[in-house]
């Protein structure tokens, strides 16, 4: 009985070690991706790191339930996205931070204004289009990779990306012509 218990706990420990090793490899290859996804929603480094860390912790908790380990990145992206959206909704300090950013941008006009405009335009997109345009904007992601991450057909990704870019161009062009908007 004792031998059986030892064997069982040893097997569990081995499984746990294997799981941890595999997760470590996933963490190394996906940490920047999770951070960028969170940053695209929150646009605050510390908050984005917190959310990405939370997403990894959650992913680790449920890692043993993930049957297809190749889908880890897509799984992580979805979790990070949802956590970031939740954080954005619940984070009331963001208002104060944005006002501070506005003060800073007023002090340094130029490229920062352009980036702010771009982010505001991206924020105005519906969530489906926003996810596509952000993931496509992350370096090294082609349509196939975006389709894999969002678990969508490539054609759907392509059409959504087209729609998103059209809206962004409209908004950015309008803001360029009419600075009041």
């Amino acid at each position: 009985m004792v031998e059986y218990a030892d064997g069982l706990s040893g097997a569990l420990l081995n499984d746990d070690a294997d799981l941890a090793g595999e997760f470590e490899a996933r963490l190394a290859e996906s940490s920047t991706l999770a951070f960028r996804v969170a940053f695209s929603v929150l646009r605050h480094r510390e908050d984005a790191e917190d959310v990405a860390q939370e997403a990894f912790a959650k992913a680790y908790r449920h890692f043993h339930q993930l049957r297809d380990r190749d889908r880890f990145r897509a799984w992580l992206v979805r979790m990070t996205w949802r956590l970031a959206i939740d954080r954005q909704r619940s984070n009331r300090r963001r208002v104060a931070r944005e006002s501070a950013d506005a003060d800073r941008s007023a002090a340094q006009p130029g490229d920062h204004d352009r980036v702010s405009e771009l982010w505001h335009a991206i924020d105005a997109l519906p969530e489906k289009l926003r996810a596509v345009v952000v993931l496509a904007g992350i370096e090294g992601h082609d349509l196939n990779e975006v389709a894999r991450l969002l678990d969508l057909p490539v054609g759907t990704v392509k059409s959504r990306l087209f729609a998103a870019r059209r809206r962004l161009k409209e908004r950015l062009t309008c803001s360029t012509i009419d600075p009041i908007r």
Partner: protein
């Protein structure tokens, strides 16, 4: 304020702008922090697993023990009949009082006597007090009454025996109490005290 753009916003230019906006990297400590959190979670998870496993094992063992205890201690009809056979309280009282026992009482006891083949109906057992005459005691009582009826046993003798027993224990009648004469008691003699003055002089 109007920005002068050297060329119209093409898909490529937009893509480039988005890519530049997203070219951010986490801090150097980020991965280390994630590793620490995962490691702490791993130890906590293992501890929780062990506690949970132990808890479930203990709970299951407790449940099995409780079920066994209930199964062993549950008063079944057969067991209840056995217990009642071992406690002949009413029989003891009936025999000790030596009162003439009416046949219907015995018959009643006989009819209520539990048998192994016919268990007590639960409703009846709950509403009526249990009869505490054991089968062997009831048989002995029946035999005794039969003997009295057939005059093989002298009930009067038994009654007188019982009266003697009662007389031994009971207090005597007042007229039977014999008071010893007081003439044998010697009268008390009180000697006079010595004179007070002589006593004082002696002390001084």
């Amino acid at each position: 304020m109007q920005h002068d753009r050297p060329h119209p916003l093409t898909d490529a230019a937009l893509h480039q702008e988005i890519e530049a906006a997203l070219a951010v990297y986490p801090s150097a400590e980020f991965v280390a922090r994630v590793r620490m959190r995962v490691a702490s979670q791993r130890s906590v998870g293992w501890m929780i697993w062990r506690t949970t496993a132990f808890g479930w094992t203990a709970a299951a063992a407790g449940a099995v023990v409780a079920m066994l205890a209930v199964a062993l201690l549950w008063p079944t009809d057969r067991r209840r009949a056995g217990v009642e056979r071992d406690v002949p309280l009413l029989a003891i009282r009936l025999v000790a009082s030596a009162q003439p026992v009416s046949v219907p009482l015995v018959a009643h006891a006989t009819t209520l006597e539990p048998t192994l083949d016919t268990p007590w109906p639960r409703a009846r057992a709950a509403s009526e007090p249990p009869v505490l005459i054991a089968a062997d005691e009831a048989a002995a009582l029946r035999k005794f009454l039969q003997g009295v009826r057939e005059r093989r046993v002298d009930a009067a003798l038994l009654a007188s025996l019982h009266e003697d027993d009662v007389a031994d224990v009971a207090s005597p009648r007042p007229e039977a109490i014999v008071v010893a004469p007081l003439s044998n008691v010697l009268p008390l003699v009180v000697e006079p005290l010595p004179a007070v003055a002589a006593l004082q002089g002696a002390v001084q």
